[in-house]
């Protein structure tokens, strides 16, 4: 029973006055210094100077700087240089730290002339010995790289003088230049410190002033950079913002100028937004695919794998999941690849009747299959749902199995999926041998699908061990083989995206999608 409440009324006017006082105090405080204004106005002169603020979803991974690994895109080409870059349309090597090169007639010897006057961030001169040291780093067992198979073929290396290096290979390889495209020129004396993020001594346009593991980096201009007058920016601030929407908010609030790899649907909101741009990398090196473990009885029949490929609505993935960024594909190659064949790109257009017929012929109609995916990567969830819908329509009983990234990666590497797996791959934009020998889903020697075929190995070696670009006939054989076997069903050829504010100018990227800020500046 309540007895006293009626007498204990609040003196509401006084309370309201107190609350109003508190609110007034808050407003007064908010007038002191604006964190937002400070963040936006610290950029200084728009052409020379200013700090570029980058947000990205994951911290850099120094241990994988010799691989193409998305979290490192912001530092790979800003802190380091490479011997060559590629023309994005023709794959013709372009000079970087190497000014020229010549290959022997048998394709087994490469001689590089090196740029003079290049210094490391610590002031030391760059020499031919640093190229040798960088190559030895790629060969080290605990250093990961997709072009390790090329480095493993090095026989001897010679440095006749400080600006020339000659490399003898045991065999001729069609993708040999991919090694020099992907290998950063590091300071060999500090390799262990580099791999553990303790020393980033490079020759790139910016040097690392501070690295806070898990949080981000502060880069400052390398005033002794070999490109005279560049870079224009005084510094770069890289912040780790794990949530894509938060990255987008940071961009829209003016707190950052460049957001790397926003989730596709977040990125698509920038397309028509005034003051912002969605920049698409022209390397087109990302392909979303669904793989099949061919040791699983249901998936051991290639007709079932083909039926799956016919069932999936690739256009729907492009529009509903990728926000219109990307094109449907049935093969792993980007337009820049010598293996790209426009006539075969849409080989597996959606055809449910054909899919049903193939499943019926294989006696697979009504059978269950697991579809694994890395749930931490936003597009995978949407693609998995479309795949489930389409496979059900074709007559299979798919079950979606979301996994954490590390679990997914572990199973991918060990062929541990007892069904299908949904993820992405790169390397379709380079020389075809790099995909067939280095990218895990397609690696002929060991791959995630446990696809072990002497024919495929022979084909891969034929593409790889060639002096120069493989013949059209060989590449055609590869394409027809991949389309026929379908241990990997490529779905959408897409690309990395950069969400930027309109004041950021001169941004470009390498053939591996590494951010290139040599010519970047912030306009007023």
């Amino acid at each position: 029973m309540r007895r006293t409440h009626g007498r204990l009324r609040l003196r509401s006017k006084r309370s309201i006055a107190l609350i109003a006082l508190g609110a007034a105090a808050s407003l007064a405080l908010s007038g002191c210094v604006s964190a937002v204004q400070q963040s936006g106005s610290s950029n200084g002169d728009p052409v020379k100077g200013g700090t570029l603020h980058i947000v990205q979803a994951a911290d850099i991974q120094p241990a994988t700087l010799f691989s193409q690994n998305n979290p490192n895109f912001s530092v790979s080409r800003t802190v380091f240089n490479y011997l060559v870059d590629y023309d994005h349309k023709t794959l013709k090597p372009q000079p970087e730290l190497a000014t020229s090169w010549k290959q022997s007639a048998d394709g087994r010897t490469l001689t590089f002339e090196l740029r003079k006057g290049v210094t490391y961030h610590d002031g030391r001169a760059f020499t031919a010995a640093d190229v040798v040291g960088s190559l030895k780093a790629v060969q080290r067992p605990d250093v990961a790289s997709q072009v390790k198979s090329i480095a493993a073929q090095i026989d001897t290396m010679e440095t006749p003088n400080d600006h020339e290096v000659t490399i003898h290979f045991k065999i001729a390889m069609s993708n040999v230049m991919d090694l020099f495209l992907m290998m950063p020129i590091i300071d060999p004396a500090h390799l262990d410190e580099l791999l553990t993020g303790k020393d980033f001594n490079g020759t790139g346009p910016f040097k690392v002033e501070k690295y806070s593991p898990g949080q981000g980096l502060t880069l400052v201009k390398n005033t002794a950079y070999w490109k005279k007058g560049q870079p224009y920016l005084a510094g770069v601030d890289i912040q780790v913002v794990r949530d894509s929407q938060s990255m987008l908010s940071s961009l829209k609030a003016g707190q950052s100028d460049l957001a790397l790899d926003l989730a596709p649907l977040d990125a698509s909101t920038l397309k028509d937004a005034p003051g912002y741009q969605l920049v698409l990398s022209d390397a087109n090196d990302s392909v979303q695919y669904i793989g099949s473990n061919v040791t699983v009885p249901l998936l051991s029949d290639k007709r079932v794998r083909q039926a799956i490929s016919y069932a999936i609505d690739r256009n729907r993935i492009v529009t509903q999941v990728d926000g219109g960024v990307g094109t449907p594909t049935s093969l792993p190659w980007a337009q820049s690849s010598p293996a790209y064949d426009k006539a075969l790109v849409n080989h597996f257009s959606r055809d449910i009747d054909k899919s049903k017929q193939l499943l019926s012929e294989a006696g697979a109609t009504g059978q269950s299959v697991n579809v694994y995916y890395d749930s931490g990567f936003a597009p995978n969830v949407g693609i998995a749902e479309i795949v489930q819908f389409d496979l059900t329509a074709a007559g299979l009983k798919p079950s979606l199995v979301p996994l954490q990234a590390s679990d997914f990666l572990d199973k991918l590497r060990n062929g541990g999926f007892d069904g299908m797996f949904l993820t992405g791959h790169g390397f379709g934009q380079l020389n075809p041998a790099t995909l067939l020998k280095g990218a895990f889903p397609f690696n002929a020697d060991k791959n995630a699908s446990s696809f072990n075929s002497p024919d495929y190995k022979a084909l891969a070696n034929e593409v790889w061990q060639t002096n120069g670009v493989p013949s059209d006939a060989t590449l055609s054989k590869v394409n027809n083989f991949l389309l026929d076997q379908q241990f990997v069903s490529d779905l959408v050829l897409t690309t990395h995206t950069y969400g930027i504010t309109s004041k950021l100018k001169g941004l470009s990227e390498t053939m591996l999608d590494y951010v290139d800020l040599d010519s970047a500046y912030l306009q007023k």
């Binding site: 309540r2 609040l10 309370s15 964190a35 990961a144 993020g197 679990d407």
Partner: protein
């Protein structure tokens, strides 16, 4: 009091030891491999094996456990597998950030929760009760990832009066630092503040029905003295107990809030450690979480005893 704390110490150590075993072995049972995460995509098996050997992950599990425990006891927990920095430094920096966020949230939750709870306890007007109850229900029901995104959209993106994320200069430049802190602290404080409000209101209603309050009124005590001197203090023990639990939940909730606001605290560090299967760092962070729970419960018990002589007598 000192004797009471000393009596609790052995059981706390046992709990920590059991927790260390559970944390270590459950983590090893979870699928995933730190060496594979470290090697990155497309790495060969030989590379992964080389990294595994370098990290000591090819040692027997018991050896790994003993090495880990020895590291903690000797004050040298080693380096993070993925971030490569000393764990003590990583944890120290992120813990400070989380404490800053949690303290900010706690202050807001205490202020807001106490005010609303007090009003709920004393105001009888139906509309006011409905309004205040509705506010507390919203505070509890709306997930932090919704309230966080809404606040960012309104104050960070549309009005641009507060930064949408990041930590800023912190306490080193408080005039700027508080602006970074305000939104995440408000979001984190909402569920805790609402819970405090509800418990305080309920406890105050019970206290108001007690005979000693009637006696106070009959003696002609002034309203303010009656409320602040008798009703509120006697209503606090259950609120403090729930506050102890809420502090734990506050730290748990920080994981989401830190992610939304890019606040580099323990939550973000733990998320990174777990997703990368950074065993050492994950183990240390989880053990610290257990330790924090134990300490918070101990402190809550001590404050309870200090406030309520009956509890002191019971425990004596």
């Amino acid at each position: 009091m000192v004797r009471y704390v000393l009596r609790r110490l052995p059981s706390a150590i046992v709990v920590l030891l059991i927790a260390s075993v559970v944390i270590f072995f459950i983590l090893r049972l979870a699928p995933g491999d730190p060496a594979a995460s470290l090697a990155g995509p497309d790495a060969s098996e030989a590379t992964i094996q080389a990294i595994r050997h370098k990290l000591g992950l090819d040692e027997p599990l018991v050896t790994q456990y003993v090495i880990w425990l020895r590291g903690i006891v000797t004050g040298n927990p080693g380096d993070s597998y993925i971030l490569h920095a000393p764990i003590a430094q990583l944890v120290g920096e992120s813990l400070l950030n989380t404490v800053e966020l949690a303290l900010g949230a706690l202050v807001l939750a205490l202020l807001g929760g106490s005010l609303i709870g007090y009003l709920l306890g004393v105001v009888r007007a139906r509309w006011a009760q409905t309004l205040l109850s509705g506010l507390t229900s919203l505070g509890i029901a709306v997930p932090t990832y919704v309230s966080g995104v809404l606040l960012i959209l309104v104050f960070g993106v549309t009005w641009r009066v507060l930064p949408p994320g990041g930590i800023g200069p912190g306490f080193s430049d408080f005039a700027l630092g508080w602006q970074y802190l305000l939104m995440p602290a408000i979001v984190l404080s909402l569920p805790t503040g609402a819970t405090i409000a509800r418990f305080l209101a309920s406890s105050m209603r019970q206290t108001l029905d007690q005979d000693f309050i009637q006696t106070g009124i009959a003696k002609g005590l002034r309203r303010r003295r009656l409320m602040l001197g008798h009703v509120v203090p006697n209503s606090l023990p259950p609120v403090l107990t729930i506050l102890g639990i809420q502090i734990g939940q506050l730290l748990g909730g920080a994981i989401i809030v830190e992610t939304i606001f890019a606040w580099p605290g323990v939550g973000q560090l733990l998320l990174q450690a777990v997703t990368g299967r950074d065993y050492l760092l994950t183990q240390d962070l989880l053990l610290i979480a257990v330790l924090v729970f134990i300490v918070v419960q101990l402190v809550t018990d001590i404050i309870d005893a200090a406030l309520d002589p009956r509890i002191r007598l019971e425990r004596a």
